[in-house]
């Protein structure tokens, strides 16, 4: 029974079905339980949290990643699966917090001051949640002071800064300088992304990494996470 639920959960992550009304890819699964319902069912059947996360959600996302790499899946598929996993994590979070099962880390993300573009930021947030990170989205046009305050209070492991415009990307450097001034720079890894920036720019302003897209962000964070472990 437990094995069936976990296998179905994994399959529904692969199908990118968040809930009952989603149809999936291979066949019309509309009306059958999706990731949200199956996660709840797993909890109701007393399946351990680490089994739900590792054998159901993470295992499913690994298959999705493989399918994306071989061009069987496209970004909308990847996002659908990540969104489904993110919804499952919302259910599991209070329980995970109360248990000894750790998430892969806390990640905050913001579009910097003066910039209101957020498509890329939102996709990064969805993918990282799907990859098992605890994500806090600070929104768009976020003042530097608010980011510094958040780092001080919430102590995230990573912070992602996004900017589309050449006129606003300079504010990423401002955030890094402000973190230094407040003695917080060594407490958090800073990742930058967006159409205006590059690897070279990340070096120039002293960021820890430049992420070309959301998938790259997952890889970069996983590398940091493994190095920490």
């Amino acid at each position: 029974m437990s094995e069936d639920i976990i296998a179905t959960l994994k399959e529904n992550v692969i199908q990118g079905r968040k809930s009952l009304e989603d149809e999936g890819i291979d066949e019309d699964l509309t009306g059958t339980p999706g990731v949200v319902e199956l996660t709840q069912s797993a909890l109701d059947n007393n399946i351990p949290l680490d089994v739900i996360v590792t054998q159901g959600l993470t295992a499913g996302m690994e298959v999705v990643g493989e399918k994306f790499a071989t061009k069987e899946y496209f970004i909308p598929d990847m996002l659908a699966s990540a969104e489904a996993v993110g919804a499952a994590m919302d259910i599991l979070k209070p329980l995970l917090d109360a248990s000894n099962v750790e998430t892969k880390g806390k990640f905050a993300i913001a579009t910097v001051k003066g910039d209101i573009h957020d498509i890329g930021k939102n996709i990064v947030a969805i993918l990282l949640r799907g990859a098992g990170y605890e994500v806090q989205d600070l929104g768009i046009d976020v003042p530097t002071e608010k980011i510094v305050e958040m780092v001080r209070e919430e102590k995230p492991d990573y912070i992602g800064l996004s900017a589309l415009l050449t006129t606003t990307m300079v504010n990423m450097g401002e955030v890094i300088e402000a973190l230094k001034e407040n003695g917080l720079r060594d407490k958090v890894k800073v990742l930058i992304g967006g159409a205006a920036v590059s690897d070279e720019y990340a070096c120039e302003i002293g960021a820890d990494a430049y992420c070309v897209d959301g998938f790259h962000a997952v890889k970069v964070l996983d590398a940091f996470h493994q190095a920490k472990a």
Partner: protein, 513 residues
């Protein structure tokens, strides 16, 4: 089931109704004055016995008649010419139904070239930095062979957008003669594609053999008329306004047999036709109508297709310039004239001036492929793989062309806007604006899986690299590796027993093959 082609809802037309009528009238005037020179005795006699004014031209090196065709003869022929023509196929699912008043476009290969272009990808090393290597396509021309024709038909069988096959290469093997060329080109083509096969005939003496071959394949004479798996093209009228002796003989023979045939005319604006659009249009229309009239006089109701291959002359060489913009304009005008008569049309696009695949080839081909398709010809000889006007065929280019036609076909899909769609989309918008991310991405998937989103260019390289040729070459080899449905062993055996002149190496069931 028949092939769907692509239906053009609102065909693009260049001429107003008044201009179409005026071209028609001008063509009628041309047919009665100056009329045509005719180097074919039977045609002259046919016109004469049906009321045309026919006079012997003398002195002349060749027997020649001057023919003036009265308007009534032409309009009667237009009336009796079939308005719907069926082109059959070995696989009935590949049948084409062409209606003169329906702008449903079928994409077709051709024409016959002497040169086959091989491609290879040698590796070059950068002189200033030997650690850098690159693969560059190299194209090598050579004379076409019967094996090439088999390969071409094989690949064309697997090109999704290609609806029918006109042979692409002239077979010039040492053991191919004027007497055995026709039977071998017919068999090589028919045995490697299940799509409709159209071609010209080299030697009229071989007509019985090729028609008998087709009968053996479909099961008899009646079956061939029910499912005409072969059809013919003839340029019986050489521009300006001359019935040619041998091709007119072929034309008359095909019309007697009641098999489908294209009345094709290929004037060159500037040399064999006036340089102005109005001039080449009035003349080509007169030439095609003259052919259609002859066909209907030979056999009333025989299926004749309004064929147009007009081209503008190059100003530097006075050679053909199929890549010129005007060539597409003429073809679109011809489509409009054929539709005016409700007679199915064979039109031309995609023939380019350049000798090898590349940017010029793509630009010239795509422009004419798009605009001529939009005009709605029924049978578009869009020259898959053809280069250097009509001189070179490259299989790699044919594979590239298939990708272009995938795009054109996708572009021409009608929009889906109805109450159900509107209701669905309003619900979607209302849902998305309430979500934190405000993204529609989750709604892409069902649309993507249903084929409603166009596929990416199939030969796109990774990163910044341009690997179009290498990837198309891979695709070409994949298609060659796919099996084709050959003619069955028993029929093949019968064909080899009854049809003389076939090369034994074409028998795929022969031991050791």
């Amino acid at each position: 089931m028949v092939r769907e082609g692509i239906l053009i809802d609102t065909p693009y037309e260049r001429m107003t109704k008044e201009q179409v009528t005026r071209i028609h009238q001008a063509s009628m005037e041309i047919l009665s004055d100056p009329g045509l020179m005719c180097f074919n005795k039977e045609a002259a006699e046919t016109f004469n016995s049906n009321g045309a004014e026919v006079a012997t031209v003398s002195p002349s090196d060749l027997p020649c008649w001057h023919i003036k065709i009265p308007e009534k003869l032409v309009t009667d022929a237009i009336d009796s010419a079939p308005k719907t023509i069926k082109l059959g196929a070995r696989n009935p699912d590949n049948t084409l139904i062409m209606k003169g008043d329906e702008p449903r476009v079928y994409f077709v290969s051709g024409s016959e070239t002497n040169i086959w272009l091989d491609v290879d990808f040698p590796t070059y090393v950068k002189k200033s930095d030997p650690s850098i290597e690159t693969r560059v396509p190299e194209f090598r021309p050579r004379r076409g062979t019967v094996a090439d024709l088999c390969q071409s038909a094989h690949v064309c069988e697997h090109l999704d957008t290609l609806d029918a096959y006109i042979r692409t290469v002239n077979i010039q093997d040492k053991d191919i003669t004027e007497d055995n060329k026709d039977v071998n080109k017919f068999f090589a083509s028919l045995n490697n594609t299940t799509k409709h096969f159209m071609t010209g005939l080299t030697n009229l003496k071989q007509m019985d053999n090729v028609v008998n071959m087709a009968k053996l394949i479909v099961g008899g004479e009646e079956e061939l008329h029910e499912n005409p798996i072969i059809s013919f093209i003839t340029c019986l009228v050489k521009s300006p306004l001359q019935f040619v002796e041998d091709t007119t003989d072929t034309f008359i023979d095909v019309c007697r047999r009641g098999l489908p045939i294209v009345v094709s005319s290929s004037p060159q604006a500037g040399t064999t036709a006036p340089i102005k659009e109005v001039g080449i249009m009035a003349q080509i229309n007169a030439e095609v109508l003259a052919g259609i009239t002859l066909g209907q006089l030979v056999t009333k109701g025989t299926p004749v297709i309004y064929g147009s291959v007009p081209v503008r002359a190059r100003m530097d060489t006075l050679g053909d310039s199929y890549g010129s913009i005007e060539t597409s304009q003429y073809n679109i005008d011809c489509v409009q004239m054929a539709r005016f008569y409700n007679i199915p049309n064979y039109s031309t696009s995609g023939v380019c001036d350049t000798k090898t695949p590349g940017q010029q080839a793509s630009i010239e081909r795509l422009l004419s492929d798009i605009v001529v398709t939009l005009s709605g010809p029924q049978y578009l000889h869009c020259a898959y793989g053809l280069l250097d006007c009509n001189s070179v065929f490259c299989l790699l280019q044919a594979v590239l062309d298939d990708a272009h036609f995938q795009m054109i076909k996708f572009f021409l899909r009608p929009p889906r806007i109805d109450e159900t769609q509107i209701a669905e989309i309003l619900k979607q918008i209302r849902e998305v604006v309430t979500t934190p991310q405000k993204l529609y991405i989750r709604y892409i998937r069902p649309v993507m899986r249903s084929g409603e989103i166009s596929a990416p260019y199939p030969f796109e390289g990774d990163g910044e690299s341009d690997n179009v040729f290498a990837l198309a070459y891979e695709r070409m080899n994949e298609l060659l590796a796919k099996p084709v449905e050959h003619i069955d062993p028993a029929t093949t055996s019968k064909i080899f027993q009854e049809i003389p002149g076939l090369l034994p190496r074409l028998n795929v069931y022969e031991e050791g093959r």
